[in-house]
Amino acid sequence: MENLIALLIAAPLLGAAVLLCGGRRLDAVGQWIGTLLSFASFAFGVVLFADLLGKDPEQRTLTQHLFSWIQVESFQADVAFRLDQLSMTFVLLITGVGSLIHLYSVGYMEHDERRRRFFGYLNLFLAAMLLLVLADNYLLLYVGWEGVGLASYLLIGFWQHKPSAATAAKKAFLVNRVGDMGLSIAIMLMFLWFGTFAFGPLLGGEGEPGMVGDASEGKLTAIGLMLLLAACGKSAQVPLQSWLGDAMEGPTPVSALIHAATMVTAGVYLIVRSGAIFNAAPDAQLVVTIVGAVTLLFGAIVGCAKDDIKKALAGSTMSQIGYMVLAAGLGPIGYVFAIMHLVTHGFFKAGLFLGAGSVMHGMNDEVDMRKYGGLRKYMPVTFVTFGLGYLAIIGFPGLSGFFSKDKIIEAAFAKGGTEGWILGGCALLGAAITAFYMTRVMLMTFFGEKRWQPDENGNEPHPHESPKVMTIPMIVLAVGSVAAGFLFNWQSSFIHWLEPITGHDHGHAPLSAGVITGATVACMVIGVAIAYGQYGRRPVPAVAPRGSVLTRAARRDLYQDDFNHVVLVRGGEHLTRSLVYVDHTLVDGVVNGTAASVGGLSGRMRRLQNGFVRSYAVSMFGGVAILIAATLLMRAV
């Protein structure tokens, strides 16, 4: 059984290799190769899942050791995989959603001549993501971590002829690199203090405790904060969130797979996986929760102001991941719910993005929601699936989002103490705002009157339903986003499933679960109502009104990009330019100055060379005289 684990990664990796090196002769069938291999990987995942289910909950950890990767004295890094309940969950999510999105892309990218490469990149992403979640040590995880970063770079910048896309891709990679720095420093700290960075000995598992138990809290806090930095980069958490909005330059399936369902949740995986470290470092946990809370509000506010449907969804993604990080920061109370929300979010957010993609597909790639309106007539399937996703995300009772988000809010309160109240309040507020902006998106897109005009070269978009190959994945995901939550809570199966890895306790909620649920629903209703009042009752203006200060700030991502631009970009440019000057004038100048002075001196010396044999004779004669004098002096002394 263990050997299947490698195959999980091998299949998409093979696909990537074949598609990227295959050359033009594969252009015709490329997309199908990619899709097939991704489904194959999914099949392996299912088989392994069945195998795990067959095992006793405590023995549900498979490890596969391939070969020793780096080995220098005490520094040991192996290529080894670890499949337990946590990674299994991710494997299913990644391969499942991934495969669906492959399928969707077959239709979506139909007319792109560089389709083959697109699927190659997608497969590369799958492989890297699987490596990330299956790695048995932090260094190998780091490989996957940067691998997904690379894939996201390639896919965001897939339409490279658009400068905006290229810039966005670069930005994403760079911001992620800042996070990666955190991860690598964390690994170094682990090696420095524990002499290893493998999950088993470090974090423990299968019953026996890991080394982290023996470490002081300060050390673990340091490691935890570094891991958090990494998570912030990858999961677009404040303050490293700025890349996610621009990442929407990529093709929509990419946004769905990478920037909604899977890659951006890697940070949550990292924190949950390192739970043993965070559990022993309360300060680090507190910072994690704060980051999560801030981000969930930040993303929500940004999401409210965007007219670009994908950017609005991106804001919502940010905010939802904020929820997960918040939950992950709560420790054993929240780990399970973080993962649960992660999975459900994977379903409905992917569905929403695919819906958005389908809308754009029908609207000549128009992304401005103010140019949509009343589309429900034209694309019913999209409308329904999108609607289900919408209900799921705002936490409509009974749908998946409801269960997972509600649990997180409860957990936040259950943390207890003041911070419990604050965090819980933030989460509630977030739920209200979520409801608001998602309703806004829904209304502006599918309801009201049609607002699209012919574009400059006069061809008016003819909105139409997307082909089957695109709608089927949307339907599947919609079903998932409806049913998942309910399934997971059926005899709290999900909790039992993950408990052996993450542990779980209920904390001590200051309020009863019912009250909190009620509050959540109430907030949701309020949000929807406000949104309806603003966008449902009166027609939506085709050009954005100036809006309040907050709105304008939110449109500009709360000025975070401007800050980066002024401080980092401008400053960096000045720094490098001045350094270039220094290098040329100072460092090089010293050398050239020496050379010049020597040249000048010799030029002056040359004058002595006047060609008169008599002056030569004088110098020679004088020289002899001096020599004699010297010898005499020597004798005298």
Binding site: F612, S615, V618, F621, G622, A625, I628
Partner: protein, 280 residues
């Protein structure tokens, strides 16, 4: 004691000779350096060399002394004189220095060098002084010969080879192969015509059939001397006798005498002045 003294000193006669001739030698050397004309330098040098020859003799180097006189003074210096004659007088003879500071540097070096040498010799402790008595026992020349043909025979042979080489070298250097045919008179005259100057042959020296020596410049109609009439070398040496004024004065005197003979009212006798002199 006296033996010691003998070891350290020489006869008063030699001392006297040394001081007198030494002074002369130094003066000769200085003249060699500072005489304006090469000829004079050569003569002074010859003098110095002869004195040196005397010193050689005094030092018991009889053979060398003779050789010095015969070879150096007799042959080499004559060679110098020949060359001086060939080259003639050149601008190089002037003692005016052209390179800045050269002279002072040279004097400084020479002075310093001399002082150093003398100082060095002064320091050197030359204790024992055994004359050439037994070295020259059976004749100086024989002694030399014995050495030359035994110990220094190779050096001797090599110097011989060197002399031969030098002789050949001198010939090679001075001998000039005539590459082009000598110009005929016809060609020369045609050349002159083409250049358009001195179409007639150069004027002859001498004046009024009185002075026909080669060093007297012929006079132009206005009475000024023409340098074309005397040879270049004389000109450069400045050995031209200018007889123009004297000739004109003679003419004047002749006319005057003619007047007296014809009892004419004499014009006041005034020596003729050349216009430029009058203007002065």
């Amino acid at each position: 004691m006296s033996a010691q003294l003998a070891a350290y000193s020489t006869s008063t006669g030699e001392a006297f000779q040394f001081w007198v001739l030494g002074t002369v030698a130094v003066i000769g050397a200085l003249c060699t350096v500072f005489m304006k004309k090469a000829v004079h330098s050569a003569l002074c040098l010859a003098g110095t060399m002869i004195i040196l020859a005397v010193f050689y003799l005094a030092n018991g180097a009889y053979f060398l002394g003779i050789v010095q006189i015969v070879v150096y003074t007799g042959a080499i210096m004559m060679l110098f004189l020949f060359v001086v004659m060939l080259v003639g007088v050149t601008a190089a003879d002037s003692l005016k220095e052209t390179i800045k500071g050269q002279r002072w540097l040279a004097l400084l070096c020479g002075l310093g060098f001399g002082i150093l040498l003398i100082g060095g010799i002064g320091n050197a402790s030359i204790t024992e002084f055994n004359g050439l008595a037994q070295a020259n026992a059976n004749g100086n020349v024989e002694g030399l010969a014995a050495l030359i043909f035994t110990k220094y025979v190779f050096a001797f042979e090599i110097t011989g080879a060197l002399l031969i080489t030098a002789a050949i070298g001198a010939m090679v250097l001075t001998h000039r192969e005539r590459t082009e045919r000598a110009k005929t008179q016809r060609e020369l005259s045609e050349e002159r015509i083409r250049e358009g100057k001195h179409i007639p042959p150069l004027p002859a020296p001498g004046v009024y059939a009185r002075h026909n020596a080669v060093d007297i410049a012929g006079l132009l109609p206005d009475g000024t001397p023409s340098d074309l009439t005397v040879s270049k070398t004389l000109r450069e040496r400045g050995q031209i006798r200018d007889v123009s004024t004297e000739a004109l004065n003679d003419l004047k005197a002749l006319e005057q005498r003619a007047e007296e003979r014809l009892e004419r009212t004499a014009i006041e006798p005034s020596t003729f002045k050349r216009p430029e002199e009058a203007s002065k």
